[in-house]
């Protein structure tokens, strides 16, 4: 690829921060021992100490106690553990009914579908055109045998932030467990378990310049849950397997490196791209709520053109973005999120998601919008849509 690459797919994953890599290095080369029990050998005790410190720091950033954070291999595993672990713990005791929103990311959605095949009943909460779930609808759906509600903190594609405080309060009142997938909000917007009635939270390192292959699940003390993968007694007997200590240390370092200034910068880049696109390119729609959205996400539909064609043209300029178009996805299905907020295929196919990180600059935003304006104009010229007052 000639020239500099402009990477705007940071909700897919982020570049590892060098400082994170430095922090992880000794865990591979010097302190490589397994974390032993307190009766183990010195190296093992040292490893145990390092892991514990990392756990303290990450849990602390959520306002949680250290023993409320389970390390996993990432957000996919965290959400699987939360949903299937609770289902196994309560399925026989309390009930087999679960409620999730329609726009959850695949780890939650497909865990729910897997449980359906095992005989659990799942209700899928609708969202409005901005992507918000309706708390009144949720209340109406909760039954005596409901064991878990899972509603994401913010959406992976359109960035809409849910009112998880209200959902948490309702669930607590109804004595139902509440899980939220915070993969795209952790360290980006405030989340404190002392203030919000949430029982389980999925987090991940790879969206905040941490390493891939490590994530976490906050499990509030006393939450009924059992492990879903058999093996040893690691992670308070909730997640078997040798601990990923380098990953945990990298995760903790990544958490430490994010500050409010950075999130402010992301927000400014987000607002800049939205205003520039609306200024320079006609017939566009912002997907997701204008204000209640995560700082790193802008998602815009360029009507009458197809997303894969846009991303391919942008790629030729060294610009990486993603789209909700069917042609782009591995499944060749239009984004379920875009369909849920409007049921309009054309809006899904022409949608482009821009997600920012601290490695992006305002200058890049300008370049991207200039290229986009030209690409969209060219593709519209050859498109049969939008002519003579059509579509």
């Amino acid at each position: 690829m000639a020239g500099k690459v402009i990477y705007l797919d940071n909700s897919a994953t982020t570049r590892l921060d060098e400082k994170v890599l430095e922090a992880m290095r000794p865990c591979y080369l010097d302190d490589y021992a397994v974390a032993t029990s307190e009766f183990g050998y010195s190296q093992g005790l040292e490893a145990r100490e390092i892991l514990s410190e990392a756990r303290d720091r990450i849990a602390g950033s959520l306002g949680a106690e250290a023993d409320e954070l389970i390390f996993t291999s990432g957000n996919t595993e965290s959400s699987n553990l939360a949903i299937k672990g609770v289902a196994r713990a309560l399925g026989a005791k309390k009930g087999r009914h679960i409620i999730v929103s329609k726009i959850e990311d695949f780890p939650v959605l497909h865990s729910a579908k897997a449980l359906e095949k095992e005989g659990f009943e799942v209700d899928y909460l609708d969202v409005d055109e901005m992507g918000f779930v309706n708390v009144a609808q949720l209340e109406a759906l909760i039954r005596d045998d409901t064991i878990l509600v899972s509603v994401q903190h913010a959406n992976q594609e359109i960035g809409t932030v849910q009112d998880i405080a209200a959902i948490g309060t309702l669930c607590r009142q109804k004595n139902v467990l509440f899980h939220t997938d915070a993969t795209h909000t952790f360290k980006r917007i405030p989340l404190d378990v002392r203030k919000i009635d949430v029982d389980l939270i999925t987090i991940s390192a790879h969206t905040i310049h941490g390493p891939k292959g490590i994530g976490g699940l906050f499990v509030r003390k006393g939450t009924p849950i059992v492990k879903i993968m058999d093996g040893g007694f690691q992670e308070f007997d909730l997640r078997a397997g040798i601990e990923n200590i380098p990953g945990a240390v990298g995760f903790a370092k990544a958490v430490e490196l994010i500050n409010d200034d950075e999130n402010q910068l992301l927000k400014e880049m987000r607002d800049r791209i939205i205003s520039l696109v609306f200024e320079k390119i006609p017939i566009v729609t912002l997907n997701g709520d204008r204000d209640k959205r995560i700082p790193q996400n802008a998602n815009i539909t360029f009507h009458h053109v197809e997303g894969e064609s846009i991303t391919l043209h942008l790629d030729m300029y060294g610009i990486a973005v993603s789209t909700g178009s069917a042609c782009f996805s591995r499944s060749l299905e239009a984004s379920h999120v875009m369909m849920a907020i409007g049921g309009d295929h054309e809006r899904a196919h022409g949608s482009i998601r821009f997600t920012f990180s601290r490695l992006n600059t305002m200058e890049e935003i300008g370049i991207v919008v200039d290229k986009l304006a030209k690409i969209v104009e060219d593709l519209r010229r050859i498109s049969p849509l939008g002519k003579t007052g059509g579509e």
Binding site: E306, L312, A326, H345, H349, I382
Partner: protein, 212 residues
Amino acid sequence: MPFPYNDIVLEHFRNPRNVGSLEHPDGKATEGSPACGDMVTVYLQVEPDTKKITDIKFESYGCASNIATGSIITELAKGKTIEEAKKITWKEASEALGGLPAIKAHCSVLAVEGLRSAIQNYEEKQGLAVSKDPTTEAVVRRRLKRVMNPMKGLDMVATNLVKEIEIKDGVIRVVVDLPENHQFAASIKEEAKERLENLWDVKEVMIEFEEI
């Protein structure tokens, strides 16, 4: 990681040939719909005596393979007689492009179908349709299979939208299982009419809506 598209495909994607529309086309057809994510319109100008395609244009709403196939198909068809052009296959188009990803067959085959339908449209308009068989329910059904149900991304027959078909004295009456004021009613009606009104023995097409 090898790029999914080869250089020929990318070149046609970047610089598609014969793009645009014809103001008074002798034949015209659209395949696909926004719902399925790909849509191609083909316009033809045909020399009446030789039956040669003298001009051809296409418009595409679609991904790279859709655009590239639209481009190559117009190049392949230009200058050919309609009989020759009818025989162009997806395989030939794909070979001319140096190969397309198998998973994108659906998106690219639309352009080939677009060309064939545009030729058919020309023949019907000219009264050249080879078949003078009377239009039956099966014929109507087959044609309606080309009309997309935008809600499902599949055709209106497969998605059970066609409730009733009646053919009498050159008048086709199709009852669609949707409320009259449904957001897609108008576009389905228009597309269905286009598919049926050029049949040689059809004088009128009535598309009615009635929700079960």
